[in-house]
Amino acid sequence: MTYPEPASRKRLLRVKLNGRWREDAVAENQLLVDYLREVAGLTGTKTGCDGGECGACTVLADSEPVPSCLTLALRCEGRSIETIEGLTMQGQLHPLQRTFHEKLGTQCGFCTPGMIMAAEALLRRNSRPSEEDIKAALSGNLCRCTGYVKIIESVQAAAEMTP
């Protein structure tokens, strides 16, 4: 039995990651989530399923929420990618991080980075979301701990903190 050579041909990826430009040699078939976790060392972005099922890997690409497990890293050439690690500015918690912490929008915490990034995308385009807006924006992000009640409260509280 013969096998094709592994698809290890690499190309240079230039990407703005959490506000800083960087360049990495990336395999053509590397997924964004694996690039973030294994190349950039940003393990805050999680893999919770076999592809596009749970939303735990949600990151922002030019402020739009994308499932990084269904996105090729090389498709992010020249784009701005933001992860949970990028939300903390100079050690200060982002309003969503603060409210998810204080209102227990996080229990086991595994869905939390993706949930917060999806919520951040919502708040950037709609700073005063209704409960229905929040539900629509987060409906692709599964949480198994909270029953979502405190997640909604956390997003609402974060929205109120933003002027």
């Binding site: 592994p6 919770g48 915490g109 595994f110 198994r144 029953g147 009640v149 405190k150």
Partner: protein, 776 residues
């Protein structure tokens, strides 16, 4: 009975002490641990449901460049399992495979692609045997036995009778029998299984970091399966992304990764796919319940007969406990004067079932609470009245020997009745809308541990040194439920120091005392009590030192707000740091230990299996569910839930609220949409798209009322809060649907298909009835 302590203001609770790590992405879960130089482990799984292994040839896999180790069943002749009496499983199948997806061999390679190619090179031949996917098929007279010592493929039969059942039914004004069936469900915790196993050939030491809820059991089973001295094994629990029972027994991949690490003389990382998570399973079994109740006109239960059949999957796991729980927890919530229970745990050619939130109690509670409503309706009784007339009154001991020391269920009922405005709304709702009520309960830890060693049920160590910081060491596995935060609160409140002075180190066998693990909701009750005990010992030492410094008697020393003073209002006082310095003089660093043990009288009845269900404290819950049923589509929308739970005392009200909401919601998933489905043993549900857990879009507001009955033995009076509310949701929902559209559903989940089918059948019955009446 249930007022919050008078002297304390209403407490809101505190965020989790490890919450900031979670919201910043800094928290390291097992898959996040540095594994840059680790080998990648992959499992070869059985492609058939049942068969004798004729040939397993891994030569070509082993010869592939980049493959460092291959292991098969021949590398581990030691069985494992969570119950000492039922260890009938091997990490890698030997001689026979019993379910599709059962691990057969495993490889460790330099990368995932190489490992995957190696799996494709494994040659596997099986002589297929008949396979059974339902309890009935497995129990057929001519069925091949999955395990030769278990006739009829019955893993365990339980037959318990308490009281005079015949007389009880004879005294009833109404006797009804119900057959209710509940689908198999899965934990579906969001973090997939993962393990990092490192074997050091120089020292012969093994370190395993895993997603476990039971690090101690993992260490025991690693020692058994790898035939290693336990002292050479270290088990560490990193952050764990949810459990719900998925990880309360040692799982095959944990042992397989360790076998690979030893064979490769290195470090192996193994990350299971979501599909493999479903194959690993260990969740709530498909269950058929036959429930017969006798009732007086006033709703009082006179007798209960219940038969439970659980389709347990291919191996024992927790099965014996599950089938015992199902019978034992028919009691402990209502006064049932006579009870007959017959339970059957069946082997079938499917992934093994195990423990899942509300272990053993959920499906029988569902049947019981549906039966109460249906019989009350027939008797013209109110659903609240039928429950109130049967309430237990604490303290009491049930017929099967369960101690009930505190019970706030009566107040739970009052609270949800008021909060939901039940009286004003029931019977006056628009068409398609309905309200339903149900109650439930759960143990605060099993009073008799699985591994009976004579040791305390829990131990906590505290260390204080020159810096004035207090470190609590606990083996208790925080899996997101907030147990480390609970330990910190228990220590800080007992000592009267601020919460951020306490640091918690948890779940590392090299550092923390042994703990049985995060299951049966034991941690708050047992570890909480041990933490308080440790803090009291520490306090005594500090008070002694303060007394010496202040030249007073220890009994006159008070510690409030980190100040030690002689009596209240006294001028003479010392800050905490100075007291610690005084206490260190002579002896240096202070280490104290606290323990907790459940006394023998709490450990259940003397009958066989009587220890299962026994606990020091039951939580109690009531909930009202409001639904809207769309008769066109069959879709059920849950509009709102009102839930009340008696947790004895809420050590952290914020976390208690979160646990109640989470458990109620998990019950909703089981009630409405969650179901594992197999096609000839092949999971048809093995992704989070096919296995339908509710999204945020269909999840309702969940109003929480915390009832505090102050258990005499609980830490600060506390009992469990994480499981008790789950079992009430499915029956409350089914009762609400009956209220909305007048149809009783006997099967879970109540999917739109089932609703539509029931509506169509009813329309047909009505039509046929009308035609028959018209006929001359």
């Amino acid at each position: 009975m249930t007022a919050i302590d008078g002297e304390r203001p209403k407490r809101r609770g505190v965020p989790l002490i490890d919450g900031i790590e979670k919201v910043t992405g800094r928290a390291r879960y097992t898959a996040d641990l540095d594994h840059a130089n680790a080998l990648v482990g992959r499992i070869f799984r059985s492609p058939v449901s049942h068969g004798e292994i004729r040939r397993l040839d891994v030569t070509k896999a082993r010869e592939l460049d980049g493959v460092i180790a291959v292991v098969t069943g021949a590398d581990c002749p030691h069985s494992y399992g969570v119950l000492p009496v039922a260890m009938n499983e091997y990490p890698l199948a030997r001689e026979r495979v019993r379910y599709r997806g059962e691990p057969v061999a495993a490889v460790a390679a330099i990368d995932a692609a190489t490992a995957q190619r190696a799996l494709d090179l494994i040659e596997f031949e099986v002589r297929e045997l008949p396979a059974y996917y339902s309890s009935a098929a497995a129990r057929a007279d001519d069925a091949v036995l999955l395990h030769s010592d278990k006739l009829g493929n019955v893993e365990r039969e339980v037959h318990h009778t308490f009281g005079d059942v015949a007389a009880g039914f004879g005294a009833a004004d109404l006797v009804r029998e119900f057959r209710i069936s509940c689908a198999e469900v899965n934990h579906a915790q969001i973090e997939p299984h993962a393990v990092l196993a490192a074997f050091d050939p120089a020292t012969q030491h093994l370190t395993v970091q895993s997603v476990t809820q039971v690090g101690y059991y993992l260490q025991l089973m690693l020692g058994r399966c790898l035939n290693m001295d336990l002292s050479r094994i270290r088990v560490i629990k990193p952050f764990v992304g949810g459990g719900f029972g998925a990880r309360v027994e040692v799982l095959n991949f944990e042992i397989i990764a360790a076998l690979l690490a030893r064979a490769a003389a290195g470090t192996v990382v193994m990350q299971l796919t979501r599909e493999e998570n479903f194959l690993t399973h260990r969740a709530r079994p498909q269950t058929d319940v036959m429930l017969k109740l006798g009732m007086r006109r006033n709703g009082q239960i006179t007798a209960c007969a219940c038969e439970v059949v659980q389709r347990g999957g291919a191996y024992a796991g927790y099965g014996i406990i599950t089938i015992l729980y199902a019978g034992a927890l028919l009691q402990g919530i209502y006064a049932v004067p006579a009870l007959k229970y017959d339970g059957y745990r069946i082997y079938a050619n499917l992934p093994p079932c195990g423990a899942m939130r509300g272990h053993g109690s959920v499906d029988v509670r569902h049947a019981f609470e549906c039966a109460l409503d249906r019989m009350a309706r027939e008797l013209g009784l109110d659903p609240f009245a039928v429950r109130r007339v049967n309430l237990l009154h604490a303290p009491t001991v049930t017929m099967n020997g369960l101690m009930v020391n505190s019970c706030g269920l009566s107040e739970c009922l009052d609270r949800v009745e008021q909060a939901s405005n039940w009286r004003a709304r029931i019977g006056r709702l628009p068409p398609g809308k309905g309200l339903g009520i149900a109650c439930s309960h759960y143990v605060s830890g099993a009073a008799k541990p699985i591994h009976w060693t004579g040791e305390p049920h829990a131990a906590v160590n505290l260390k204080v040194d020159f810096d004035g910081g207090i470190t609590a060491f606990t083996g208790a596995a925080d899996i997101g439920q907030g147990s480390s935060t609970m330990v910190a609160i228990a220590v800080s409140e007992t000592l009267g120091v601020s919460l951020d002075r306490v640091r918690v180190v948890a779940g590392d066998s090299a550092i923390t005392p042994k703990d049985n693990g995060a299951y049966s909701s034991r941690i708050t009750f047992m570890v909480g009590n041990a933490a308080i005990d440790a803090a009291r010992h520490l306090k005594a030492i500090l008070v002694e030192a303060a007394a010496r410094k202040l030249e007073a008697k220890p009994e006159d020393i008070e510690c409030v707000g980190e100040q030690f003073s002689v009596g209240s209002g006294s001028q003479a006082s010392l800050p905490f740091a100075d007291v610690v310095k005084a206490a260190l003089v002579g002896g240096g660093v202070i280490n104290v230990k606290g323990t907790f043990t459940c006394p023998p009288e709490a450990q259940g009845g003397k009958h066989r299996g009587g220890a299962v269900g026994s606990t020091m404290g039951f939580s109690y819950a009531a909930q009202v569910v409001e639904v809207t049923v769309d008769e066109a589509t069959g879709a059920i929308a849950v509009d709102r839930v009102w839930s009340a739970l008696d947790c004895g005392h809420a050590i952290n009200p914020l976390a208690v609220e979160g646990q109640i909401q989470g458990s109620v919601w998990m019950g909703m998933g089981q009630a409405l949409s969650e179901e594992t489905r197999y096609l000839d043993g092949l999971p048809a549900h093995a992704s989070l798209l096919e296995y339908r857990v509710p999204t945020i879009a269909e999840s309702p507001p969940i109003d929480v009322q915390i009832v505090e009955s102050h258990d005499p033995n609980g830490p600060f009076g506390a009992k469990e809060a994480s499981e008790g509310a789950l079992a009430g949701f499915p029956p409350a929902l089914v009762n609400a649907v009956a209220n909305a559209i007048g149809i009783d559903f006997d099967e879970l989940p109540v999917t739109p298909d089932r609703v539509v089918q029931a509506l169509v059948e009813r329309r047909r019955r009505v039509r046929v009835g009308a035609l028959q009446r018209q006929a001359p």
